[in-house]
Amino acid sequence: MKNLIRFIVENGYPIVFIFFQFIAFYIIFNNNYFQQSTFYRVGSNITGSISEQEAKITDYLNLAKANIELSKENADLYNNSISSFMVVNKEFSIINDTLNKVKYKYAPAKVINSTFSKPFNFLTLNKGSLNGFNKNMGIVNERGLVGVITSTSKNYSIVLPIIHPQSLFSVMLKDQHYFGLLKWDGKNHTISKMTDVSNHAVFSVGDTVITRETTIFPEGIPVGRIHSFEKIKGSNFLDVEVELFVDFSKVYYVNCIENLIADEQEELENATIE
């Protein structure tokens, strides 16, 4: 016992170092990005307000680009509004009317802080739980899939984008309907990988990749275009590289998708698994 105490006193510095290093590694390995972690809630309250001030300044630099994107989006919306449809003469056509229930709700938000050149990238949105934003809501912009919300504070949300090594999204080919998982390898923010595509799939370079319908996203949100693919030796799967539609170096205005009946699907699926 005496020897042990003497050992600790004599080697105090390395022991304190190992102690702190242990805490650091505990923090590193105990942060599952899909779970609400106190780290982000505490952090985003402080750093979020600083980032918002920063965004106020940098807003002006992106105005021209943002205007063009917005006017495009406006045009699309006008295309879908009632005023751009004409009344069809009922005497000459049959209308089978069915009642529609709203399943997905969209809400706009602005990206106030983001990275794209790092191996671990995140986006911060200027809206949080007060605006009805919650974790596991999908984020898209006018070009396609961006990511999913992992945590929210009152006024801010953190988005795990598709260019994060721990993100995993269910996707498929637009025409052939082969399924796969979208996973990023950490190298290039314009390219991602689609794994688990079975090797009998027939497709070609340039085909479009879209989302599958999950509890988070509706079907058909564009993800990217197939850049290249090759067979993995000794495996039944293909290795597919996808060129992403979303340019993460200028993600600015985004839309948040809320699936209003996600709970129903989750409950049913969980009950089945158990």
């Binding site: 510095y13 702190f20 780290f39 952090g43 191996p119």
Partner: protein, 171 residues
């Protein structure tokens, strides 16, 4: 003493904000060089600071950075390793008469010794940091390349700051 404390706290606030708001968005050579100038806070802490206080300070600085970059624990771990090596390096670089004053600088240690001191510490920090960041990918050459280019970038900024903050008299 209080002046020294205030000076270090001010440096902490300014450099952390500078890092988070400006340098974190800055890369050179298509992403190969990313400067982490905030380690300067720890490079110029007083020499006679008790070794065991050095570690919690490093841990806090790293954790503050983690809040901004959303990398829980990674900066904290890298800064800890760097700070751990600091007293040994200072001891090794000490001349026979010891250090005349208390703050490590190019003026006090001499030009070459200060650069060796800074570069080794920055390199330790960057290698540790990039190894943890790319932990799952196993791209070791990629890690070393990033660390080396970024270290040189950080060292360049450090020397600018050093010239700016404590001008050396060239006789």
């Amino acid at each position: 003493m209080i002046g020294l404390l205030l000076q270090n706290i001010l440096r902490f606030v300014v450099l952390i904000l500078f890092q988070a708001l400006i340098l974190n968005h800055l890369t050179i050579f298509s992403g190969w060089g990313q400067p982490f100038l905030y380690v300067y806070i720890l490079l110029v802490l007083p020499i006679n600071i008790p070794k065991r206080i050095l570690l919690p300070i490093g841990f806090l600085v790293g954790l503050t950075m983690d809040f901004f970059t959303h990398t829980p624990g990674i900066h904290a771990s890298a800064v800890l390793t760097m700070v751990f090596a600091r007293p040994y390096l200072l001891k090794a670089l000490r001349s026979r008469e010891g250090y005349e004053s208390n703050i490590p600088s190019a003026k006090l240690m001499g030009f070459s010794k200060f650069y060796i001191y800074s570069f080794i510490l920055i390199l330790i920090h960057h290698i540790w940091l990039f190894s943890l960041l790319y932990f799952s990918t196993g791209l070791w050459l990629y890690v070393l390349g990033h660390a080396l280019v970024s270290s040189l970038f950080t060292l360049l900024l450090t020397s600018l700051l050093q010239l700016f903050a404590q001008p050396i008299k060239y006789v």
